[in-house]
């Protein structure tokens, strides 16, 4: 075997260069959406003890629901659970149109998902972790949030809704 240079057909070389540019363009588009339009994926927020997160009086999820923190700005603490039945607590929250809602979701039992239809809020919910994303609701209507990770027999019926009033 002799050491020789790599021979690459000119068409194929151009194809490789083009592929590289194409992927670079896609990567740039993603970066623009992430850093220019604030469309971001979840970041580590807080770790909790799944054994006590739903019952400890100091835990916001012992009393899940909506808190108004400033005019038009809300924090929504939501518990996703499979025991004793498959549900989100609370099942429904209501906010006026234009509200900016930050969701803090965790699970006291198995893994769940949380996806608010027609928004970019879509994340995993893990016991021991808090998942956080923010959504601004610019149009009135009912936005279902649904469970997107298999969590047992009742997975398919697990959902809730954000009601956005005009």
């Amino acid at each position: 075997m002799s050491a020789q240079n790599m021979h690459i057909d000119s068409y194929e070389r151009n194809w490789m260069i083009f592929s590289f540019i194409l992927l670079a363009v896609f990567a740039s588009a993603i970066a623009v959406a992430a850093f220019g339009m604030e469309i971001q994926v979840p970041a580590p927020e807080e770790r909790v003890d799944p054994g006590t997160v739903a019952t400890d009086p100091n835990s916001p999820w012992s009393n899940p629901g909506l808190r108004e923190i400033a005019p038009g700005k809300y924090d929504a603490y939501i518990l996703a659970r499979a025991v004793p039945q498959w549900e989100y607590l609370p099942k429904e929250i209501t906010v006026p149109v234009g509200s900016r809602v930050t969701f803090y979701v965790t699970s006291p039992d198995v893994q769940h998902g949380f996806k608010i239809q027609d928004t970019n809020a879509n994340f995993m919910v893990l016991p021991g972790q808090v998942s956080k994303l923010t959504v601004t609701f610019d149009k009135p209507g009912a936005y279902n949030f649904i469970c997107t990770e298999f969590c047992g027999a009742g997975h398919g019926v697990m959902y809730g809704a954000v009601i956005v009033t005009p």
């Binding site: 057909d9 194809w15 994926v41 970041a43 996806k115 649904i146 469970c147 298999f150 398919g156």
Partner: protein
């Protein structure tokens, strides 16, 4: 020139892999359409109640048997063949390979028992704290370790060959198969650690709880390279066998094909976070780095597309193919093995596009855990890979058994029916996902399904029905072939395309293992190390098990 003779015992050994694989495919594929039918409103699970308790138990059977057992057994059989035939020498230590094979078989049986008893309805991702019976984890461990042992047998065979052929270029099919095996050995460390340090002791009651975020991170260390473990054997066939089968094609670029396999080895593992973009416990900066590396591993697939298509075009033009696209008609479409793999390749274009979208960082917010995802991987593992493997079996089974392929026309029809069924099924799944439909849900029963999804849900069921027909045809053809009284006159010729360039003319670093292996390991340490270190340092074994299915 007479081709290298694989011994009868080795043919039988390779054939045993294919047999187990096809049995798994047969059972697993029974349950695939049931999911699709449910979506369309035809629920057959009510009739299966005494045996199969739920949609999810059926989905677990389908996922484990089709995605894990069918693939792993077919792949280990095919790669074993490639190493023996490529290096033109018998296995160094056939007993070792047999031990590996039987560990895998025992593993499948041990895992199947709790699955069938509804004690392991955890789907093929088995995310804790859903807690299966311990036998499920023992079975999976045996399958993985068995595949390692078989891999060691192949490496030992290669080491002997290398000793006797110090300055030879490794024949391509053997080289690419060994890279695939090595990739598998590296990446399965993740799931091995997950099972041995957490899930198994936990299921045995030795530890109280697990850390779900850490478990997911271990799982996806293995989970994405698993995809390449499925895909690369199909690539081997597309690169080195299909051009010959399709008529006079030659490998357009042997050197780039080898380079592509090395890039797969280096880049397949350090990008698992692209399955965890929306996990709460992984920092976005690392997710972004894994996104860029995922784009990097798209690159060798782009190279593969060019080389494979050019190899096919070369043969087609020699056979009189004309025009910008007209040459495609000159490929040997009447050979069922060719038709299967060409159709697999066509749908793989769309699988690649969907995969790139899934991997595109925040774009995953639109797609994560929606029906888009199973829509996507039914184009990849269930078509690019599976339709290629069934296509390979159309020459490999006659080669191994010495029996003629039964009714080649039906084999060709089978491939086309799969192609059509998959377009119907997969297209509707992708669209449903974009509309917001979740995966892994019996959507016919879900209370939040809007009426606008209904026509698409019907198409899912229709596609499933067509795919079911194709699956039945395949099983009939392969059964009739394996028991065919009509024997082939001479041993089936193994299709190996020659290379357009002299393989020896490539640079020497394409035949050096250590830089690539160390490079792969170093990159894994760099892009997994900090996050894994942090997760392990802060490990919280606070999740007890749940059986809520």
């Amino acid at each position: 020139m007479k081709q290298y003779q694989v011994s009868a015992a080795e043919k039988k050994f390779i054939g045993s892999h294919i047999l187990v694989a096809v049995l798994a495919l047969a059972v697993g594929s029974l349950f695939g359409p049931l999911q699709a039918f449910e979506h369309a409103g035809w629920d057959f699970y009510v009739y299966l109640k005494p045996l199969i308790k739920s949609y999810y138990q059926g989905l677990t059977v389908h996922g484990v048997l089709n995605a894990l057992v069918w693939t792993t057994f077919f792949i280990m059989g095919f790669l074993t063949f490639n190493v023996i035939f490529g290096l033109k020498r018998p296995l160094k230590n056939p007993v070792l390979n047999k031990v590996g094979f039987w560990m895998m078989v025992v593993g499948v049986v041990v895992a199947a028992i709790p699955i069938l008893a509804n004690e392991a309805t955890v789907l093929f991702t088995f995310y804790p704290p859903l807690k299966a019976n311990w036998a499920f984890y023992v079975g999976l461990t045996l399958v993985v370790v068995g595949s390692w042992v078989e891999g060691w047998g192949l490496f030992m065979t290669y080491a002997d060959w290398r000793k006797e052929n110090k300055n030879e270029r490794t024949p391509f099919i053997a080289f690419a198969s060994l890279v695939t095996v090595l990739l598998w050995q590296i990446c399965t460390l993740g799931v091995a650690v997950e099972i041995l340090t957490m899930l198994l002791p936990w299921s045995l009651g030795l530890i109280e709880g697990v850390d779900p975020q850490l478990a997911r991170t271990y799982f996806w260390f293995t989970g994405h390279p698993l995809v390449y473990f499925w895909l690369l054997p199909a690539y081997i066939s597309w690169y080195a066998m299909l051009p010959k089968q399709a008529g006079g094609g030659k490998m357009f670029s042997d050197t780039l094909a080898r380079l592509a396999f090395w890039i797969f080895l280096v880049l397949s593992t350090p990008l698992g976070f692209h399955h965890q973009y929306v996990d709460p416990g992984v920092p976005p900066a690392w997710k972004f780095i894994h996104a860029i590396l995922t784009f990097g591993v798209f690159f060798p697939s782009m190279m593969t597309a060019f080389t494979v298509i050019a190899s096919l075009e070369y043969g087609a033009r020699k056979n009189g193919g004309k025009g910008a696209l007209g040459w495609i008609g000159k490929l040997n479409w009447s050979d069922p093995s060719v038709a299967s793999q060409l159709l697999a390749g066509i749908l793989f274009f769309f699988g690649g596009i969907g995969g790139l979208a899934n991997a595109s960082y925040n774009v995953n917010l639109v797609l994560h855990n929606t029906a888009f995802v199973p829509g996507h991987f039914h184009l990849t593992v269930a078509t690019a890979v599976t339709l290629s493997f069934t296509g390979i079996s159309y020459w490999l089974v006659p080669y191994l058994t010495g029996r003629k392929l039964w009714q080649p026309k039906w084999a060709t029809i089978q491939a086309w029916v799969w192609f059509v069924g998959m377009i119907v099924f997969s297209n509707s799944m992708h669209v449903l996902g974009l509309l917001g439909a979740p995966r892994r849900v019996p959507l016919n029963l879900a209370p939040y399904v809007p009426a606008e999804w209904n026509s698409r849900l019907f198409q899912v069921g229709l596609g499933g029905a067509i795919l079911f027909v194709s699956g039945l045809i395949y099983l009939v053809v392969i059964y009739k072939t394996a028991t065919n009284k009509e024997r082939v006159e001479t041993e089936v010729e193994v299709p190996i395309a020659e290379s357009m360039q002299d393989p020896d003319s490539g640079p020497i670093w394409l035949d050096r293992w250590s830089p690539w292996v160390y490079g792969a390991l170093a990159l894994i340490v760099i892009v997994y190390g900090p996050v894994l270190f942090d997760l392990i340092k802060n490990i919280a074994l606070t999740s007890p098990g749940f059986r809520v299915w």
